[in-house]
């Protein structure tokens, strides 16, 4: 499922342009798509958000191939931050990253962040035109914010 895909922009070898995208990886397609809907509402329509939810057979699980396709769809030129839920989501992302050249893999950051808060923080930060490092940093700051 794809929310708010932006036009790809011309990219030179030295610089990445455009809005940083987001990949949401969850064992549950419903969690991933529901979170994408929430982030799109808070962050607005300009952030490319692509989900990779569920396993290859449509059950609960994760799928490295689907994660890789989502990563490619989410990177509109400025790279993309990847948010994951639990356990094997991390392994699936690492497997997808291993399929890419070092240059291409440098366009992605796997955020060590809580899924919902991290995605919301990253989405809003991305919508301001922030860099990939800033967007990933916003996601990881979510670890330190008390819920109550």
């Amino acid at each position: 499922m794809v929310f708010g895909i932006v036009e790809c922009q011309a990219m030179t070898l030295e610089t990445r342009n455009g809005v940083v995208g987001m990949v949401i990886v969850s064992h549950s397609a419903a969690i991933a798509s529901g979170l994408a809907e929430l982030v799109a509402q808070v962050a607005g329509p300009d952030v490319p958000i692509v989900t990779a939810g569920g396993g290859p057979d449509g059950t609960l699980g994760t799928d490295g191939g689907r994660v890789l396709a989502a990563m490619r769809a989410a990177d509109a030129g400025a790279g993309a931050v990847i948010l994951v839920d639990l356990g094997s989501s991390v392994l699936s992302v690492r497997a997808a990253l291993a399929e890419l050249s070092a240059d291409d893999a440098a366009g992605f950051v796997l955020a060590d962040a809580p899924l919902v808060e991290g995605a919301v923080a990253a989405g809003v930060t991305a919508s301001t035109g922030a860099s990939l490092a800033e967007v990933a940093g916003a996601a990881e700051e979510a670890r330190g914010i008390a819920k109550l």
Binding site: L38, Q41, V42, A43, G44, E117, V120, A121, V124, T125, S127, T128, A130, E141, A142, I145, A146
Partner: protein
């Protein structure tokens, strides 16, 4: 170099609009456009106006008074813009 300045204003959220989800996102994205350091206080809590999680954490329901303060070169413009945005939320 422009002169450093500090600005503060109080604005009330429209009765029907809580500072949640979409309105909070609009507020934070507007704040991020300014170089000034901007804080918003409500319900005895304080948030960095550029942090969506902190702004959501204010728990500001419709009708809540928000105290918006800013310091920096564009503080006056930032406070004016954010007050206008809050007053115009629907």
């Amino acid at each position: 170099m422009g002169s450093q300045s500090s600005e503060l204003t109080v604005v009330r959220l429209p009765e029907a609009v809580a500072l949640h989800a979409r309105p909070a996102g609009a507020f934070v994205r507007a704040a991020a456009a300014f170089g000034a350091t901007i804080e918003v206080r409500a319900n005895g809590r304080q948030a960095d106006a550029k942090s969506i999680l902190q702004v959501l954490g204010l728990g500001a329901d419709g009708g809540t008074e928000l105290e918006i303060s800013a310091s920096g070169d564009d503080a006056a413009a930032a406070v004016a813009r954010l007050a206008e945005l809050v007053a115009g939320l629907a």
